[in-house]
């Protein structure tokens, strides 16, 4: 039988909470459409949930992003849903979802309680399925991220997001439903990221997020049998960073709206790499599993870097490299 702690105990988590920086004179804020985020660091969809709020001071993040919400409930893929190989993490969770109604009652209140802007990720199997989900969310959420890039659900890896026309259709329909900022999260495997990002911008999106995980098939090293119940999944983690850096660079040159970078970010230096090629905000996915505090550490380090460089806004820090 375990009894109440006989003495006061401490742990690294508590020390980390206590080390919360005083409000600094650095402006890390970023605007996504009409929404201002206090800093550019947020989780990647599916790699965060309210339960992580017990381990980190979420209020130090710019926003939180929900797991993708579909219109109707979905069960997700069979086990194993994730694994790790030398190349990185591979998941085929299959996006289980409570559906829009289930999200509103079961999940949204928990996200709201975190005290930072909530970006609701929205999914669909067809271009026509997104707008109804946004409608069914009835104004819940501060912005919507349209996941047009889930690689392992539709047609063996081809996505709505690889077709600029379909992206345009999705965004225009969603625009009819909401005035809130709309972010389009693009896939990696597209013939032209420039065309996809432009299609989103032209249809009225407020930002693009680049990118989702990379379609992959992990095999057991010894038996060559598939490691995932779904056979194929999405590769994530630090090894995808150079691939996504290229995409972020291309997308940033193609559109005026902010590009949010997502792919293998683990440290403030990784985030600065992305900022230096044009990203305005970053999302952290896989890194949070091994180091739950990674996002908060990045946000704190960006502050410190700016202070050390004696710049008042993050953009100036990035300009320093451009010179």
């Amino acid at each position: 039988m375990t009894i109440a702690p006989p003495r006061s105990t401490t742990d690294a988590r508590r020390v980390f909470f206590d080390a919360r920086p005083a409000v600094a004179a650095v402006d890390l804020s970023v605007r996504i459409g009409g929404l201002t985020l206090a800093n550019p660091v947020m989780p990647a969809s599916g790699c965060f949930g309210p339960s992580l709020g017990r381990l980190i001071p979420v209020t130090e993040l710019g926003a939180v992003v929900t797991k993708t919400v579909f219109g109707t409930p979905r069960g997700g893929n069979p086990a194993h849903r994730l694994t790790e190989i030398r190349a990185g993490m591979v998941n085929s969770v299959g996006i289980p979802s409570l559906g829009a109604a289930g999200y509103l009652t079961g999940q949204h209140p928990l996200y709201l309680a975190l005290g930072v802007p909530v970006i609701v990720s929205v999914g669909g199997h067809r271009a026509s399925e997104y707008a109804p989900v946004v409608r069914d969310l009835r104004g819940a959420g501060d912005a919507y991220e349209l996941n047009v890039s889930c690689p392992n659900l539709d047609r063996d890896g081809t996505d709505i997001g690889s077709d600029p026309d379909a992206i345009g259709k999705v965004v225009r329909a969603v625009r009819q439903e909401t005035d809130k900022p709309v972010i389009v999260k693009l896939p990696v495997l597209v013939s032209s990221i420039t065309d996809c990002a432009r299609a989103a911008e032209d249809a009225g999106a407020d930002a693009v997020c680049v990118a989702n995980s990379i379609p992959a098939l992990p095999l057991a090293p010894d038996t060559r049998s598939p490691l995932l119940g779904n056979v194929i999944g999405g590769l994530s983690g630090p090894n995808i960073r150079p691939i996504v850096l290229r995409l972020v660079w291309l997308a940033s040159r193609a559109v005026q709206i902010p590009v949010i970078a997502c792919g293998g970010i683990e440290t403030a230096d990784d985030a600065l790499d992305y900022f230096s090629v044009g990203a305005r905000a970053v999302q952290v996915g896989t890194a949070s599993f091994g180091r739950p505090f990674a996002m908060v550490e990045i946000a704190r380090a960006l502050q410190e870097r700016c202070l050390a460089a004696e710049v008042a806004v993050l953009a100036e820090l990035i300009e320093l490299w451009r010179d």
């Binding site: 401490t10 742990d11 690294a12 965060f48 949930g49 339960s51 069960g75 790790e84 969770v93 896989t286």
Partner: protein, 343 residues
């Protein structure tokens, strides 16, 4: 952690025959693992809400105080982590982040059961087997280094103790706390049940613990059980005593007069099924601790689906938050000829 009865290390011969034998062994291992998982079919149910609140998890830089070899195949870590040592409940687990070494990056933390809790010293013990890249890299962590751990996590074992108020209400009697428990662990699965052996010792529950392994040298928990005053039934593959029919017969004989009040099991699907059969015969509850591949351990990544068939529109239980401990109940047998019923 199903351990297979095959061992590839003893294979000798020409390179071709060795390669073939190794592949055969791997295939047997796969077949065994599949059969082991199939044994869980229809057996698993999420436990009713517990009366005891679960402790809040923390993450901590746990200093490695001891890192030594146990038996032929396992290693033991003693970790200094105050909060976890004082709050962890029996059967809960940790996520251990494996530090990067020599170019080897391990991204996902590895789930490991909390084998022992020493709240006075502020330490916990973990025993692990070297399985793949992550546990291989873990071996290199030296005493004095710290490991990032998150825990305590999950729903552990719960004795049906002065408890289950619904059952009491239904029967109109004062609930009886469990007085005796049968615990069955195989391989590193023993680690999941050792917290309950500790609880039993503290609560005066008489514990009988089956420790199963490939060989005597590979039995985990002998010294722990001795220290905690539990009766041990060691069974091994070497002498055949771990075979299911033999073990079933042994336990049926042992508990013929008075069955235990509860059965706790971890380490193999086939053992969980045996436990469920015994529980069914004796009319006692059975709890089983399961494994799943995990990333977050906190219920948000949805990676750890329990190996149970579910409605495609409804997500099944998640091992990290709904478990790892579940009720194991034999599925109600379909009536004979039921397949032919039309409409």
């Amino acid at each position: 952690m199903p351990t297979t009865p095959t061992d590839t290390s003893a294979v000798t011969g020409t390179p071709v025959t060795v390669a073939r034998a190794a592949l055969d062994a791997l295939r047997r291992q796969q077949a065994f693992a599949a059969a082991d998982e199939a044994a869980l079919d229809g057996l698993i149910a999420v436990r009713p809400p517990a009366r005891m609140p679960r402790p809040d998890p923390v993450w901590d830089d746990a200093v490695v105080l001891v890192h030594d070899v146990v038996g032929e195949r396992y290693r033991r870590l003693v970790l200094a982590t105050d909060t976890i040592a004082t709050t962890a409940l029996a059967g809960q687990f940790l996520m251990i982040t494996v530090p990067s070494r020599g170019g080897e990056r391990i991204l996902l933390p590895r789930p490991m059961a909390i084998h022992r809790r020493h709240p006075e010293q502020g330490t916990v013990e973990v025993i692990y087997g070297v399985a793949g890249r992550g546990t291989t890299a873990l071996v290199d962590v030296a005493v004095g280094e710290s490991l990032l751990v998150t825990g305590p996590l999950g729903r552990g074992f719960e004795f049906p103790c002065p408890a289950e108020p619904d059952a009491a209400e239904a029967s109109g009697t004062e609930p009886q706390p469990a007085r005796t428990a049968l615990m069955i662990g195989r391989g590193v699965g023993v680690c999941a049940i050792m917290g309950s052996v500790e609880d039993a010792a503290a609560q005066g529950v008489v514990a009988t613990v089956v420790l199963s392994g490939r060989s005597w040298a590979n039995l985990i928990g002998l010294s722990d059980c001795a220290e905690l005053g539990a009766t041990v039934i060691p069974v091994t593959d070497d002498d055949g005593s771990s075979a299911l029919p033999a073990l079933g017969e042994l336990l049926r004989g042992l508990f013929a007069a008075t069955p235990p009040d509860v059965i706790l099991v971890c380490g193999a699907g086939v053992l969980a099924r045996l436990a469920a059969e015994l529980g069914d015969e004796w009319g006692v509850p059975v709890q089983v601790s399961l494994e799943a591949h995990m990333a977050c351990g906190l219920g948000y990544c949805h990676g750890c689906a329990a190996p149970v068939a579910t409605d495609p529109a409804v997500e099944g239980p998640l091992v990290c938050v709904d478990g790892p401990v579940f009720d194991a109940v034999l599925p109600i047998a379909a009536p004979a000829g039921g397949d032919n019923v039309a409409g």
